[in-house]
Amino acid sequence: MDTAITLRSARFRAEREADWTRLDQLVRVVERGGAHQLSYQQAKDLSSLYRQAANSLSVARETSLDAAMLDYLDALVARAYLAVYAPQERLGGLVHRFLTQGAPAAMRRSAPFIGLGFLAMFLGALAGYLLFFEDPAWYNVFLPADLAGGRGPEASTDYLRGVIYDDDAADGGLAAFASLLFSHNTRIAIFVFGLGIFACAPAFLLTFYNGLIFGAFYALHVDRGLGLDLAGWLSIHGVTELSAICIAAGGGLQLGAAVLFPGTTTRADALRHAGRDAVKLAIVAAIMLFAAAILEGFGRQLVQDRSARLIIGWGIGALWLAWFVFGGRQRNVSR
């Protein structure tokens, strides 16, 4: 012990300074190149030195008034914390865990909300369908002109059939894919998810509205005797795409429900809790929209047969369902 140092806190500091310097060096290595730069022994040292330094900080706060040391230790422990508690998981592992466990489990937990999303869509479609037969003028109310693309009540049956069964060469390829991905339904999906946070209502209404469009559109084709043909045309990607919208709506409704009914926690906490599943739902919806865009961009041109379209569309829908229902069942998954 150094006899020249009389102050207790100064002695405390002098005894530990070497360890802090060593911790500082190790942390610097991690900051530069990541934890895998350390040898086994160094990694062990890092964690034990970090805990010692945290301990010193706790003691120093009670016993020392040396601001230089307190500031230094605080910052050093903070840096060491960031180095020690850096996430160590590999990207591949994350993706794998999400696909096999996280996503299906979240889907099952959120089943009531997703059910509500589907209900909104279905009710909208029913209303649109019935309203069209009441008065075809409703069609123009529901469908924006750019979305309808000339397919209104005034269009001829042949024209409608042509759209369903014609492959337009100029529309194919990457350009079509890009535009479709950014198309109406993707925007709807993003909005129903994002707006759900405002007490559910916008998400429900938008999904309902989307159902209205769909119902009126379908009714128009049923009116011309093209119902089943349209079902095929829509099914090939629509099963996936419309489900994605309903799932996104389910995520949005979950967020909105957390805002409306936070229970015993604060709204922020409830929102954070709901977010854990809602975000997984959003990712699932994004994956499905991506798949739908591929199907719409390429599959619809290549497959012209009605029943083949129906089989592909609903087959893929069944695959999604199987993933959600059976994925990640073997283990008891904790979030």
Partner: protein, 303 residues
Amino acid sequence: MSAAKGRSNKVRLIHDFLPPEGVPITFRVAGLTERLGAQVTDILITGLFAVAVVLLIALAGPQSTDELVVGLGSLLFFAIRFPYYVLTELMWNGETLGKRMLKLKVVSADGRSLTAHAVFTRNLTKEAEVFLPLTLLLVMESLDGWSRALAVAWVVVTLAVPLFNKRRQRLGDLIAGTYVIHYPESRLLPDLAGKATPQEERFTFLPHQLDIYGAFELQTLETFLQTDRHGSLTPEAHARRNQQLDAIVTQISKKINYEETIQPAEHSLFLKSFYAAQRAHLEQRQLFGDRRADKFHGTSATD
């Protein structure tokens, strides 16, 4: 000087950040201008990349209408930007390139590791908060006035959220449970009360002389005394410092009724000696449960 800035009132600190070890760590909340700077840097990086790809496609592709290029560009921008944010924040533990340059970092508010979920959530929300409405404004020419106003209002409101909470959290930070902090810098300044030199021991202080000041005054004095150690002072700054030194010595010796008059040459010695004695005294009191925050410790709280 970051050390001096760290004590000014403008800096927001997080005091209740609790890692699993149970010792709270203090972090500095990142300022909004700095975060904006990091954001702009990131947008520039990803934007330039997207523009390069679009140019390549426009040169190679046969059909390139303006609308298509804009649409494709915004799509590509998203396709590059979103993975960029998520991957960099995952790989570098909460830092994008822009944040790295400005020494900012995302940390998990619960004191645990930053999870992939948190990174994903805060960046997904960023898309919904800012980028999506802006993209819609740029891409959709058919948008009517109301929708435009709505999109702008949406962006403004979401951008204003950090102004209304202490930790400067975005909506996405709130949902993901994250803070954006300044990367802490640790520099160990010398211990002023380390080894006492024989000259310093010449000054002695009596207990009642040390009962006047508290920890705040002590640490203010320490900050002042540390200034001559780090960095070379310019001649003017040195002169100014000497003036301050004289003023402080006069003030202290008057306040504590120090009998001897101190020669100007010994001012520095006197202050160091006083600092050591005062610290020893206060720390001693603190050990016995008598914490003295500042010179008002003796008076009542309403004073």
